[in-house]
């Protein structure tokens, strides 16, 4: 574990100040980094400025100011990552050839491998949700060369608690997909379990309490189970992003020859929620509504 002092004076770029990115940038700033931030919409840029960070207007400006430093990304999809770094934004034209990208988002494995052939790139997707981002207790699954990983480590340790280097570029993304597969299917399991209890006349809140600490215990039962019991589906993590991840998982499974009827069913369930029922703006835990 690195200490916060290790970022003193380091100039770090941060692109994407959403639910996850905003608190992560804040932690880097609090650890002494000199933050340069960019976000598509102006609201989060202004909030960052009010917290002592410098917001830039354009991505080439960000690239020029960072020089041979590190730019962190926390964006929504592979397409957005590609367009922000290599697209018409003009960032790639201005980036120093010694600069490094840390991609905290969930980005496709083949795209990550191809990005890493064009510049120094660490894939560092995170797990732990908004709660973990706020508390700087994220699990971080990193891929990239050993030297790039070591260079990223002080930043990774500032925003996360458990940082694992899993291998070359793309390895972090592979592990994040494995993680999301478990998350997507466990949310479904917890939803059915609590609904089964309720329909059978057992208070689902009491059932959840009884199951915590046994073999069914999980972070999902604890946090999302509580949301289901309270019918509180205001989005922390949106269901549409879960579907995006499940689609990436299905792609990756096909690419490596993993056949799974359970995974096919999981895709159907998330498509039913997000596409058929148009509930993509609900929290992940809103999958519960399929069983009502």
């Amino acid at each position: 574990m690195m200490t916060r002092e290790s970022l003193n004076g380091q100039r770090i770029g941060f692109v994407g100040l959403g639910n996850m990115g905003a608190p992560m940038a804040r932690h880097l700033s609090a650890a002494g980094a000199s933050m340069l931030v960019w976000n598509r919409s102006p609201g989060p840029r202004r909030t960052a400025e009010s917290q002592g960070m410098k917001a830039v207007e354009t991505l080439p400006e960000l690239a020029a100011a960072i020089g041979p430093g590190v730019i962190c990304l926390n964006l929504t999809t592979t397409d957005v990552v590609e367009s922000v770094v290599f697209g018409k934004s003009g960032l790639f034209e201005k980036i120093d050839h010694n600069a490094m990208i840390i991609d905290f988002g969930t980005t496709s494995v083949p795209s990550t491998k191809s990005f890493a052939q064009r510049m120094t790139w660490v894939d560092a997707p995170v797990s732990g949700g908004q709660v973990g981002a706020e508390a700087a207790t994220l699990s971080i699954m990193a891929g990239g060369s050993e030297s790039a990983f070591q260079r990223a480590l002080p930043i990774l340790c500032t925003v996360g608690k458990r940082v694992t280097h899993l291998g070359p570029s793309g390895s972090g993304q592979v592990t994040k997909l494995a993680n999301q597969l478990i998350v997507a299917q466990t949310i479904d399991a917890v939803a059915q379990a609590l609904r089964l209890a309720e329909l059978s006349g057992v208070d689902p809140a009491a059932a959840r309490q009884a199951m915590l600490g046994g073999f069914a215990d999980s972070r999902i039962l604890d946090l999302h189970g509580d949301r289901m019991v309270r019918r509180d589906f205001v989005a922390g993590g949106r269901a549409e992003w879960q579907l995006k991840d499940v689609r990436l998982i299905v792609e990756q499974a096909a690419a490596v020859g993993l056949r799974s009827p359970t995974l096919d069913n999981s895709l159907d369930q998330w498509e039913e929620l997000v596409v058929t029922r148009s509930c993509g703006d609900l929290d992940h835990s809103g999958l519960f509504t399929l069983y009502e």
Copy 2:
């Protein structure tokens, strides 16, 4: 939490000294109870005797010796419970009308309700596996009248750590089915995730470590994930008992009108492992082999 002293001198019957029952009976004995035990096969009876418990030869003998006390059951299926208590064994004929049964097994909800109309009955299925039974840290999900639950409580607290009274007879079994639904589906999710990592070139042991502490964290990822990584499928909990539970879940879901394609798929997966591939004697975590 009751203290162990509370069982001093109490005479308790225990029927079924398997992987779970044997350590539970031992904990009751260690807490000062005077244990009378019965098991179908003689091996576990002899082991219990070597640990200071009294083994009886027949079930009517057990019933007569216990009188208006408590008889605990830890048996494999609903049919076995019915046959041991109400069948030709002769136990029911000799049982005192003030005696009480505590059923620690996973028994069908409608059968539990009908047994509870014939005598004082607490359904108290457990979660936590053999590890939890050995350590007396089981989660116990109890159903029955308030007075019966209070009478059972010193025993429940001796073998478990988290004891929850969920409502009238059958409520414990409902909650155990909810628990087993989560267990059955989470094992499947963890199996796919670790295999996806492996086929994608990431060390599954490292992937498991990275995922612990994030949103995918669960008791199943921790314990069964480790078995999968080590390809150690020697049974703690047998896959055939998991299939038995999934069948009970499907029955209960149908009885209360819960429609779930995910549950249908889960039944298919466990039947594939246990019936089609004849691997019912593997540990639960052996579901991993479906993806090899």
